[in-house]
């Protein structure tokens, strides 16, 4: 019975090709736009969150502005934070401006940054050649430096700078590596930068305070709690004044982005699903026409012994099949559209199982909802009247 009904439904769709297609168009557009929008938004979301996550989903960054009483954080403050649980490492940064010199040539307005081994362990591709600043450099306050590309090419013409001395703020360091060329993502122009161990910087260039730090969290799920603990330490460090610093928890940014995009996705999907409802009304219209066209068929089937619910099932199946065929076409259209858009604007293309289920399931539900009324109308026809209407 079910098999016969499905076969009959498909035959009916095929024998009314133009009408079926126009009716299905509503469902095709509806499902297509819902699928396309959801896929595009989720692709964009994953691209953005991947980028944010690559900046360190497990990090808390602290920017120090200082208060009139205390201009920055000391090593003691950093040590207090490192004693907290759930912290895998701290990368303090000291920054300033300095002058570098080699062999009588000098360069002004050079960005000086003090970093430690933790920074290099957690950040890829900082240098192009040479070696990074390691734990020993940091502990020993070694006078070693990484230099930017411009400095390397201007001060060491025709020479390999690695192993050569460099004067930074009047003190001689040894060049151990060359920084990667600036990428557009970097906040500072690394081509005109030098990086030395922050412990060295604190003593050597008169930078007394730590300006910022990146704190690495061991367990991301506890990021919020850990952030609050860090805040408590910092506020205490600034004698109860929490204007001395700002703290950013990357995980919470990530969460915010995710919840915003999921709202966006639901909103766009909701708007697109209005067209699905319109498509459903189209289906209902066609089914009603079909019922009145086939009144005598219904009468005949009843005379031959069809129960009302069998008639109802047959028309319901027809409307579901119509919607499913439209839904599958719409799904293919929507996914293709999303794929094209993703490739053009350069975002990820993420097709999830839930999208597939959503698209196909939605169209079947539309078929049932909007096919119900016509099917019931068919099942309630009086066989005598129905047979008479030849």
């Amino acid at each position: 019975m079910l098999k016969e009904s499905i076969k009959m439904a498909l035959e009916n769709i095929v024998s009314n090709k133009m009408r079926s297609f126009l009716t299905m168009l509503g469902i095709i557009i509806g499902v297509g736009s819902v699928i396309a929008l959801i896929t595009i938004v989720s692709g964009a979301t994953s691209t953005v969150t991947d980028q944010v996550a690559s900046m360190g989903a497990n990090t808390v960054t602290v920017q120090v502005m200082g208060t009139p009483l205390k201009q920055g954080l000391t090593q003691g403050d950093v040590d207090k934070i490192s004693e907290l649980s759930n912290i895998s490492g701290i990368a303090p940064t000291i920054s300033g401006t300095t002058t570098v010199a080699f062999d009588g040539n000098t360069m002004d307005d050079i960005t000086l940054q003090g970093k430690n081994d933790v920074y290099f362990k957690n950040t890829e591709d900082v240098i192009s050649t040479g070696r990074i600043i390691n734990t020993i450099d940091t502990e020993n306050k070694s006078r070693v430096a990484l230099i930017g590309n411009d400095i390397a090419s201007e001060l060491y013409v025709g020479k390999n700078p690695i192993g050569q001395p460099i004067k930074i703020g009047g003190i001689t360091y040894t060049v151990i590596g060359i920084l990667q060329e600036s990428s557009s993502f970097a906040s500072a122009d690394t081509n005109k930068s030098v990086i030395i161990p922050y412990t060295t910087a604190m003593g050597a260039v008169g930078a007394k305070y730590i300006n910022s730090m990146t704190i690495y969290i061991a367990d991301e799920t506890m990021a919020d709690t850990t952030t609050r603990e860090i805040e408590a330490v910092l506020t205490k460090a600034f004698n109860g004044d929490d204007d001395g610093y700002s703290i950013v928890n990357m995980q919470s940014i990530l969460d915010t982005i995710k919840s915003m995009t999921s709202i966006l996705s639901m909103m766009l999907g909701g708007i697109a699903s209005i067209s699905l409802v319109v498509g459903g009304i189209g289906i209902m219209n066609m089914m009603l026409v079909s019922v009145s066209e086939r009144t005598s068929e219904i009468g005949l089937r009843k005379a031959l012994g069809a129960e009302p619910k069998q008639i109802q099932l047959q028309f319901l199946i027809e409307s579901v099949v119509l919607c499913l065929v439209g839904g599958i076409i719409g799904f293919i259209v929507g996914v293709s559209l999303a794929w094209i858009v993703a490739n053009i604007i350069g975002i990820g293309f993420a097709l999830t199982a839930s999208t597939v289920i959503l698209g196909i399931g939605f169209s079947a539900i539309i078929g049932i909802i909007f096919g119900f009324m016509p099917a019931r109308k068919a099942s309630r026809l009086n066989p005598i009247d129905a047979l008479r209407s030849i």
Partner: protein
Amino acid sequence: MSEKILEMKDLVKTYIMGDEKQVVLKGINLEINRGDFLSVLGPSGSGKSTLMNIIGCLDVPTSGTYYLSGQLIRDLSEVSLSHIRNREIGFVFQQFQLLPRLSAQKNVELPLIYAGVSERKRHERSAYILERVGLAEKMKNRPNQLSGGQQQRVAIARALVTEPTILLADEPTGALDQQTGHQIMDLFKELHAEGKTIVMITHDPGVAKNGSRIVRIVDGNLSEGVYNA
């Protein structure tokens, strides 16, 4: 030959049309035995269509009793009526009422689908019965590829395939030319000779005389008797 399969007593059918009450059947008494070939002869408006609908369990009487195969047809649900129609009645209509998109064989199988017969059995039985009505070569053809006479044969096959108690024909030759009509009547007579019970409704005395028994219905009243042409 005298097993009673249909019995009507004082059967009345009334329609309410607006304020007016219209009595279409005014106390019908009718008995049909197994193996009868009964012609119900009557002009249009005589109530013969209503009588056919009641015999075919498409409609129920207002009062009086109607027994079909010993079962009282009254106060039955639509579902029960559809089961009775499926089991007891084989309809043959004036306009054949074949589904245009289905092959002859598929049309014949239709009542078997509702009887819950398996696909394999449906194929066997429909092929057998189509062969019986002389359409073994046309089983795969659609109705529009068949002549009127052939279409009516398909319809007769469809009526016979469930082996119903009564073959109920409503003006079976009404849409056919005279020669084809004769061939259909010959088929009916053959079926009658095989022991099938046939009830045929017609306005044409020439067709009615093919029956082994004729009743006339005029103005809602039924009278027994051989019609003399």
